[in-house]
Symmetry: C2
Subunit: 458 residues, 2 copies
Amino acid sequence: MNPMGLFEELEKALSPERVTNNETILELHSKDESYHTPHLPDVVVFPENTEEVSEIMKLANKYETVVVPFGLGSSLEGNMIPYDQGIMIDFSMMNKILEVKPEDFLVKVQPGVTRTQLDKALKKHGLFFSVDPGADATLGGMAATNASGTTSVKYGIMRDNVRDLEVVLADGTVFHTGSLAAKSSSGYHLNGIFVGSEGTLGCFTELTLKVFGIPEHTMAGRAAFSSVEDAVDAVIGILQAGIPVARVELVDEQSMKQINWFSETTYAEVPTLFLEFHGNEAGLEQDVDFTREIVSDFNCKELSFETDTAARNRLWDARHNAAYAYIHGNPGKRQMVTDVCLPISELAGAIKDAREAIENSGLVGGIVGHVGDGNYHILLMIDVNNPSDIEKANQVNERIVGYALTRGGTCTGEHGVGVGKKKYQEQEHGPALDVMRKIKAALDPAGKLNPGKVVDLD
Amino acid sequence: MNPMGLFEELEKALSPERVTNNETILELHSKDESYHTPHLPDVVVFPENTEEVSEIMKLANKYETVVVPFGLGSSLEGNMIPYDQGIMIDFSMMNKILEVKPEDFLVKVQPGVTRTQLDKALKKHGLFFSVDPGADATLGGMAATNASGTTSVKYGIMRDNVRDLEVVLADGTVFHTGSLAAKSSSGYHLNGIFVGSEGTLGCFTELTLKVFGIPEHTMAGRAAFSSVEDAVDAVIGILQAGIPVARVELVDEQSMKQINWFSETTYAEVPTLFLEFHGNEAGLEQDVDFTREIVSDFNCKELSFETDTAARNRLWDARHNAAYAYIHGNPGKRQMVTDVCLPISELAGAIKDAREAIENSGLVGGIVGHVGDGNYHILLMIDVNNPSDIEKANQVNERIVGYALTRGGTCTGEHGVGVGKKKYQEQEHGPALDVMRKIKAALDPAGKLNPGKVVDLD
């Protein structure tokens, strides 16, 4: 990087107050929410529109400088840590909700809009955005990592809910990946390849997202089991019965304890499913009755449902706070969150093996899972200054990733590759990795977009 | 092409009886179901496994010869017509259902398996494959064109239901686009880009598809309206109410007449919605009651429901036979089927404009539509030996495509680009077409895979 010339040109292209190498600002852009080592960018820029992003890309190109996009820094695999320095594009000033189209179930937003900001705006139209990764991430960031969360079993993941992206390529070209049509067989499906590309193929400057009508009725419940196997088998039973469950989350015994301690709840401290159903009143009642029958076949010890909003929110807050419960319960430690996803038939075995791996490591850790999708996380507490902790955590991760990959699974269900899952890409994708590399080389030949993440050029 | 050396090498790689230039066989592989001009390939090969497909690709590479995959020839835009001759790979001998995994809602098939063959095999597991384009196409072909049809409003299009593809690239490399996991954020999403690539990026040799449990209850009905606008507005109302309709098809007045004549039915000859709901009994009843309220708000003149299987099948047969009804009613003519898709808020206007375009052309034509997705077809009858008919049909197509593209739509919702929609790619995709071209060049640098379709190298 030639910081002098580039810095001045960036100031000219944007405005001086939106280009900075202030140490505090650089620091804020050096890390995400993971245990991965922070690293400072050279400069942080705050564009206000697509044209400015295109200008930044052209200048980066001219000065052969790295570019990394930044949403809110809530990623979990070091996805946006700028290990090769360069320009970090912070999208917080591109945070407008541009258009809500209720008849088409679409909303157009800038990448810096956050999930809760969007939901607030949609509520008055009777609509909601379904993807809920827990954190109040930006939509741009969620598209970049192909986020999902608790509701994807019914409503789909980020990739399913992105109708169109405006993208700026490494050379400054601006284009759209899709259209507003609900489906298309026209040309190659660029939407799919850009969602989940983690800033390695281009930067998103506008997103058109699919939204849903707020369901007429919602019921949430908690089912307590004697074993993880029973809980997972009950979920398979619910899915096979065709019950359109909207959320089904597994929380293991250890994590229920941690939740009770943190949220001051008194839930049974056994493997538990948190469930939610959306639909019309009569249909929900029948779904719930059927669910009751199924879970009792799998030795459910307790099943309770909540219909009023406050009780439902309490329940889901407890579930969503699981990660924070561990963090607060282990001061001074950071959290490594694993993220494998398997065919659901392999999930019970995987979780049993994961529990064994945690016990063997001697680390504190609990398991929570988006069990309807076969995706589970270990919340593993580590002292990042203790090499032995890092080593043990890596061993746990390596073991569970290996278990998943030999059974048709993936090393990351929703957090993305970043730097943390880079080493598993060859094993997971085999010759497909070379296809990905060719696509990367075709679209970012100089390898300047978020280098070191997802795939390397060679 | 060097037919002598290549032909002999193909015979050696497969076996002599599975490599042919028999005129009748070439003829059978020269056309699809569209009005597009047929063209013979040089040779047709019938591989039995992935290794043989890889060998064919390597030989094609060596002899610098074109390769085009062939399913059943049911495409509608000349998608597999071999205008540059070369080798046609017929996948009819790769037609095995390899594995059904009911717990994971997955099935693994070879590309030559047809839709009805698959559904028969799934039925005994209580499962069904949701994508229903009408024709009994092969799954390989359906993935190649990203087919959809009547059920995609609830269950998604082909791209949503392909979990993994085994692909053979132009150089013979074999790789997998995905995994068996329900979701993944690992690497670039190759599934999405290969589904809908129409044989221009590689050949599919194995598909892992998502399947669904056969719904507990199904209700189908017919709603008759005074105008297309009312019918479309009623659909928007149904969707906004969050009623999870499984199918919602529009048939215009002219097509209802043609259906009555062909299927010997006595349905009201007015704009009609064919509807289907899947779910539990109580939920369905409430959905139907709610639907009744909504359609009555939009001047529905008649609403009738069928629950028994025979009556339901009669109803859907009538709808599915709309295209054949026109063909039988217009002997000596062929059918041009248009395929635009728009945001649903633009659909009523588009259909009104389309009806005007048909009237102006003087051609016989009816409109049917997958209205829940904003996708409609004009079934336009033309004499392919009469240049004036072709000219008029092209004018109609051009007008409705233009209408769709200026309103955020696409020139093809489900039939693919083939040769028929090639001319609209620049207008629809703008600078994105260059991104597609770069991907094509990266994966098929010599441009030998189904050339002339989707995008050109330069």
